[in-house]
Amino acid sequence: MERGREGIDPMRGYYDDRIVALSSRLVVPFIQLFALYVVFHGHYSPGGGFQGGAMLAASFLLIRLSVGSDGAQLQFRKGWGTPGSSIGTLIYLVTGLSTLLLGGYFLDYSQLPLGMGESETRSMGILIVEIGVAVAVACTLTAIYDDLVGEEGRRGSPHDA
């Protein structure tokens, strides 16, 4: 296999370097923790499902760029992207439809059976919906990257049992 520039493997599309790989592996858990903070603290500070989902996707993509797609399969498999995004969208839709079935309007969270006051129930409904959005955004952006890079290794990957 021919190498293009020094250290860059043109067929794999990532920078094969030990220091880059190690430091990004160190940083990624903190990015993910912060992404979860952004999602769950979105009621009290700037943040929410879209931003947190994008940060989560960024952490997945950082591992894909530094360690390569094969190594990244251990963290987030290529096949999970599309099912994950449909699960996120379904969380949103099911929340909306359940309020419809419980006797309210579509997406009227105050009908959710959580045993709280009306406005507190709305707050919880917002949180549920934000989680759905975060899952959908993170999985979709990762899936788009995987699709764009190509499907090398989907069948032959050692981790893809």
């Binding site: 009290y44 500070s45 700037p46 929410g48 879209f50 931003q51 989902g53 994008a54 955004v137 979709t140 952006l141 788009i144 990257y145 699709d147 764009l148």
Partner: protein
């Protein structure tokens, strides 16, 4: 004149950015460069919306209470007394709209890149004039 500039400089620069994006879309031959132009265009529109949302002497649209009643309890107290002033917080609506527009823009850019990859696989080029030749 100076007053006009101070009141509108953000809009004026963003219109310049808008025209730069349009220049990329109209004149560039390469489809990837056209896509980059389209993204600059989108950024200009997003920034115009966000720039229009601001207010003098106002803070970010997160309720925080004020003075002695700072914090969550203070916010609850203020809300109960109807003491929240709309002039203290900037307009939250454009922020909300642009927040979703940014993420949707990234996803649609992904679709555009996927189409470009398919075009390149099929015709072996991304140059517009060459593409028209090979398609005929």
């Amino acid at each position: 004149m100076l007053d006009f500039f101070l009141g509108h400089y953000a809009y004026l620069f963003l219109v310049a950015l808008f025209v730069v994006g349009l220049y990329g879309v109209v004149t560039k031959r390469n489809l990837v460069k056209k896509l980059i132009g389209l993204n600059i265009f989108q950024s200009a529109i997003i920034l115009i919306y966000v720039a229009g949302a601001s207010k003098w002497n106002a803070t970010v649209p997160i309720l925080e209470g004020s003075g002695a009643s700072y914090g969550d309890a203070g916010v609850a107290q203020e809300a109960a007394h109807g003491a929240i002033e709309a002039a203290h917080y900037i307009n939250p609506l454009p922020h909300t709209l642009m927040l979703t527009a940014i993420v949707v823009g990234v996803a649609t850019t992904g679709v555009a890149l996927a189409l470009l990859i398919t075009i390149h696989r099929r015709y072996g080029t991304l140059d517009e004039s060459e593409l028209l030749e090979r398609m005929s």
